[in-house]
Amino acid sequence: MKALEWVIAQEGVEKPSQFYCETRDVAQARVEKMRPDFIAHKWSDDESGLLAAIAGELTGNCFDHNLGNWPNLPGCWFEYEVDDSSFRMVIADRGRGVLKTLRQVRPELKDDHEALGVAFTEIVTGRAPEQRGNGLKFVIRSLGLLHGLQSFLFVSGNAALRLSGKVDIIDVLRYIAEADTTVSGTYVELSVRKNI
């Protein structure tokens, strides 16, 4: 089963043990395992550190914003592949999604597109009054530093942020459009070529 099929399946969802992280501890342990894999394939400390940090923030979001509120299956899908020249990662959850999360603090948000724009550009969090909301800004800032970025896709609801190649991180709103597939939680794909 692929991550996208898993995240959009309506019922009878299996738990793909290879990639499924039911709890935060499992996800964190898998993120920590990334560094030796990067070292084995001779990735730089800068690139491997940023990619692992992005994975840490994105898997953390799955749990931070859905704990106690999972619609059905808790946890996240966390899959990555790394070799001597490329890295690919998929992170997905069957949670509430960005719009429902941010409407806790921004009830005026009208749709998924607007919610995604706020999530990636404003310091705001569904967990206010806690001082949070920097994770996705960090992800965008980090992507801007990865010279080998090939593609980044973040889907929630029927909105998608798509980046490819060298991106203008100051103006990410223009990269948000309609998603090919509607995802009630979140679905993220990242592909990077090693910068030699």
Binding site: V31, G49, A53, G56, G60, I123, N134, R141, L145
Partner: protein, 92 residues
């Protein structure tokens, strides 16, 4: 005094882990009395996220005051990017 943050691990990712590290540092690493500067040395860290750093640094700043806390960032790009992100939002 200087706190070597790598004592808490070198891949520092999650909010719960950052919160736990902050509570431990407050209890065992920082003198209860005095007002000497507290240097947080991140130079041996491999992976850092804003989530972990926010829990740890903001907690200490709230308890001991921003003026006493000095952050040694080091060369790691995830550490630099984390603090650039947090500074941009004035969290730490």
């Amino acid at each position: 005094m200087r706190i070597d943050i790598s004592k808490f691990g070198t891949t520092l990712i999650s909010r719960p882990a950052g919160r736990e590290a902050y509570l431990s540092a407050r209890a065992y690493s920082i003198p209860k009395e005095g007002d000497e500067p507290i240097e947080l040395d991140f130079s041996k860290i491999n992976v850092l996220t804003p989530s972990w750093a926010d829990e740890f640094v903001s907690g200490l700043k709230n308890d001991f005051g921003s003026a006493r806390i000095k952050i040694i960032v080091g060369d790691n790009l995830s550490v630099k990017t984390t603090f650039e992100t947090l500074n941009a939002s004035a969290v730490v």
